[in-house]
């Protein structure tokens, strides 16, 4: 039996092949500068047996390190190279540079020292970075960074001393810089004569010798120096220019340089110049000026003073715009403020709050929801005593008040998302919220409401039942449960929860109305013989919702059928007392009962009281038309007789007579609507409702509208359709020509194109078929399905 084995170490994939093959593979990769591959190939070989591999492997690590953008990875490579050839001073030097960059000054110092000990041949650059390191470690100590005395080096005189003078702001020393001997230091250093000029110019400007400073510094080409050195030249040249009144030139060169190099000194100079009048502007409320100046500074330099100034100005500009309801402008300012403020400025929750309101003002619900969410994220979850005492926007709130605000914002954001139609997102977010706060019953009910609106009745029911399990008498949940029953056509089932709500709180408006509706629905389904039961139910409905005329009229109908005319009259009069709108409702009641006498009496009564408006006459006229149309319905008489308890049968002549009477009354009422409101809009309203079923009735109104607006292509098209429907094909053809002319001259190109498109179909269907086709289109548009045109262009 085999002995138990230790866990296997992780197996690294190694290049396949023999030792020599792997060696060659590494060399080939190295030549192609694929150092990672070379390291991989060589890494699997034994360095002990292949001593010539050591420098090669170290070189591969070294070169890969130089190409690394990640400095830590580079340091690892330098260390790996040094592990192979620790005596290589060059590797120590570069490790020192990398550590120096990373701010590990101790590590860098040791690495430079080791490079020196190992005899790194480029002594000047090494001495320079060693000196720099000491200067950086303690820049204020005059003796720090004293360069090591290296025979043949002039670092002290031509580089280190001027740097020290700059750090001390020893302008006199700098101004006296003599032309330096033309010694070339490490590659990459500028030519020495240029350096001397730069140092002299800086010194002159530091001493206030502006003109000489400008001459000296201005004579130097910007290409002479690396970026940070060039920035110093521009700092001093800009200061001298500003001092002699050349502010425009100063601004130009500063901006151009800052665009290339970030330099706090130069940035501060730009800020100082741009924000020179800041206090006065703020005092005077010149917000636009403050914002523009501060933003200009911020484009070039992250200046805290400019940041706060811009924020103050933008907030004021936002408030001014909001006060004038210029919401888009307000949103722009607050967005910019939030962009600038980020995490640096305090109170950003208030700014996000205001931004959300600005978006709401524009009805941009999605953006508003996002801003509310940002406000919520910026609000503290807990408030300290110090914040309560501070009294700032949110800080002055008690923890309870803060919690209420958080909840309000959360709901608001959800509600707005819902408005944008992103219901799935809302349901998802709310579900997560419910999970976090399972005892928030209102939230569950909101979820149920949304689900109901999405026709997800069962899911809604589950939420409601969850609430009722936690709080069996929760009125909102009981009402929601009743709503589901009503939606499903189960008024009897809705009754129980509603009665429970009203037992707890008899004044709840929704429950009263819903119970009245449930009772009326049940009464409507009762057989004629159950009159007593129906009356009882409707009396209760009226008691629950006394201001709803519909329940009173339903009750009146049962009472009239039961020969309780006086009681019915009481209900009808009470319905009429509910306001102007009730007159139309009562007229409809008499029309449905086909009681022309009562309908006419009602109109007379209303006219005498002056309560009838054009709207009433329009609707009443249409009610009469429906009654007239019903006379042609073969089932109608049967229904009518059933309603009348088997009496009132009428023959053909009686039916025609009745139809005529209702039609005549309809015309009278519609005419009266036009008498009260003879506008084209009113006439077109009538034409629109009459044109499909009664083009002959629509025609006089269409003619009057066309007379009032003879160049309106839509009005003329109405007329053509009405003429076609009324059998006046020739007149329709003439009108169509006018329609075309009017459409071509019409200002609204979109509408004109639509009309001309429609006219294109006329040759196919002919003026005679215009009305028929129009009716098909209208019916198709009203119907659930889309319509299409057949091969001849006729809608089907």
């Amino acid at each position: 039996m085999a002995a138990p084995t230790a866990p296997r170490p992780t197996v690294h994939l190694r290049p396949e092949g023999t030792e020599n093959e792997r060696l060659d593979m590494g060399f080939r990769a190295f030549k192609k500068e694929r150092f990672a591959e070379a390291i991989e190939a060589w890494g699997s070989l034994s360095l002990a047996s292949l001593p010539r591999l050591r420098p090669a492997l170290a070189e591969a690590h070294f070169r890969r390190a130089l190409g690394q953008t990640d400095r830590q990875a580079a340091i690892q490579d330098f260390r790996a190279a040094l592990a192979v050839v620790p005596e290589d001073g060059r590797l120590w030097y570069h490790l020192g540079l990398a550590l120096h960059h990373e701010g590990d000054l101790d590590g860098a110092r040791k690495a430079y020292a080791r490079a020196d000990r190992q005899g790194f041949p480029r002594r000047e650059p090494l001495a320079y970075v060693q000196t720099l390191l000491e200067l950086e470690a303690s820049p204020s100590t005059d003796e720090s960074g004293r360069a090591r005395a290296l025979p043949g080096l002039c670092l002290e005189e031509d580089l280190i001393d001027p740097i020290r003078a700059l750090l001390r702001q020893d302008w006199a020393t700098l101004a006296a810089t003599a032309p330096l001997p033309a010694v070339t230091h490490a590659k990459g250093t500028p030519s020495v004569p240029g350096m001397a000029g730069l140092l002299r110019g800086i010194g002159l400007v530091g001493l206030g010798q502006w003109t000489q400073g400008i001459q000296t510094l201005g004579a130097l080409s910007q290409d002479l120096f690396p970026g940070p050195m060039e920035a110093l030249r521009v700092v001093f040249l800009g200061r001298a220019m500003a001092a002699v009144g050349r502010s425009g030139d100063a601004r130009k060169i500063r901006a151009a340089t800052l665009a290339r190099t970030k330099n706090p000194t130069l940035g501060a100079d730009v800020a100082e110049a741009a924000l020179a009048g800041l206090e006065a502007w703020l005092e005077e409320g010149r917000w636009a000026q403050v914002a523009a100046a501060a933003q200009e500074v911020l484009k070039a330099f992250p200046c805290p003073r400019a940041q706060v100034a811009a924020a103050i100005a933008l907030d004021h500009l936002g408030r001014d715009a909001a006060a004038a309801e210029r919401w888009a402008e307000a949103a722009r300012h607050w967005s910019e403020l939030l962009r600038l403020g980020g995490e640096a400025l305090p109170g950003m929750a208030a700014c996000s709050h205001n931004l959300a309101l600005a978006y709401e003002g524009q009805e941009q619900w999605d953006q508003a929801a996002t801003a509310w969410e940002a406000a919520l994220a910026a609000l503290p979850r807990r408030i300290t005593k110090a914040q309560v005492k501070s009294g700032s926007a949110y800080g002055g709130l008690s923890p309870e008040a803060m919690l209420r605000r958080r909840e309000w914002i959360e709901r608001r954001a959800l509600e707005l998302r819902q408005r944008t139609g992103r219901v799935d997102e809302v349901l998802r977010q709310r579900k997560a919220l419910i999970k976090r706060t399972p005892l928030d019953l209102e939230l569950r009910l909101e979820q149920a409401e949304t689900l109901m609106n999405q026709d997800e009745v069962r899911a809604a029911e589950r939420e409601i039942l969850a609430v009722l399990r936690l709080a069996p008498d929760h009125p909102g949940a009981l009402e929601a449960s009743a709503r589901i029953h009503l939606m499903e056509g189960l008024p009897k089932a809705a009754e129980r929860p509603l009665r429970r709500v009203l037992a707890l709180d008899p004044g709840r408006a929704f429950a009263r109305m819903a119970l009245a509706t449930a009772l009326a629905a049940q009464a409507e389904d009762l057989p004629r013989g159950a009159r007593k039961e129906a009356v009882r139910m409707l009396e209760e409905a009226v008691e629950l919702a006394p201001k709803e005329g519909g329940f009173r009229l339903a009750l009146a109908a049962w009472l009239l059928d039961g020969h309780a005319a006086d009681q019915a009259r009481l209900q009808i009069d009470a319905a009429l007392g509910l306001g102007k709108g009730a007159w139309g409702q009562v007229f409809g009641f008499w029309a449905r009962r086909e009681d022309l006498v009562q309908a006419k009496a009602l109109v007379q009564q209303g006219q005498a009281l002056g309560v009838l408006d054009p709207e009433f006459f329009c609707h009443a006229g249409l009610d009469c038309l429906h009654v007239a149309e019903d006379q042609d319905d073969p089932f109608h008489e049967l229904l009518h007789r059933r309603r009348a308890g088997g009496r009132g049968a009428k023959g053909e002549s009686g039916r025609v007579e009745k139809t005529e009477a209702w039609l005549a009354f309809s015309r009278t009422l519609l005419d009266q609507a036009v008498v009260l409101d003879p506008s084209v809009d009113r006439l077109r309203d009538l034409v629109n409702v009459l044109i499909v079923p009664h083009p002959d009735l629509a025609l006089p109104y269409a003619e009057r509208a066309a007379a009032l607006r003879p160049s309106d292509p839509m009005v003329l098209l109405d007329l053509a359709v009405a003429q076609s429907g009324a059998g006046q094909s020739q007149a329709a053809r003439k009108t169509l020509l006018k329609v075309e002319r009017a459409a071509r001259a019409h200002k609204d190109r979109h509408e004109a194109t639509a009309i001309l498109e429609l006219l294109r179909l006329v040759p196919v269907m002919g003026a005679e078929g215009l009305h028929e086709s129009f009716c098909k289109i209208m019916r198709a548009m009203d119907g659930p399905d889309d319509f299409d045109l057949d091969s001849e262009g006729i809608p089907y």
């Binding site: 060696l23 580089l159 740097i163 990459g188 909001a322 002055g396 309000w408």
Partner: protein, 116 residues
Amino acid sequence: MTELSLVSQDPYQELGLEPSVSDADLRKAYFALVRLHGPEKDPARFKRIRAAYERLATPEKRLETDMLRLQPWTAPPLPALERDPALWIQDVLRAARSLSDLDRRHFREDFREVKS
């Protein structure tokens, strides 16, 4: 449609109160104003006062009103411009670094030949 409480229709402003007023002080101030501007003396003002109070009368209404008002933002104090020293040490050191190998990218002279 959002009912934003703008300056012109700010209920607190109408009642002459700060938004941080307590509920008790709010009621007290309301009754005092109503006594001062009764419906018979100044019906228009009375109506406005009532409408303003109506928007703050219950905790729910007050929360809604408060949340639909612009929130005050307290700006931090304006920092002074950092002008001292006239020349930033970091800028001098960066300039000095720019003359050194620390700012170089290519070091071909430090490469060693590798022979296969």
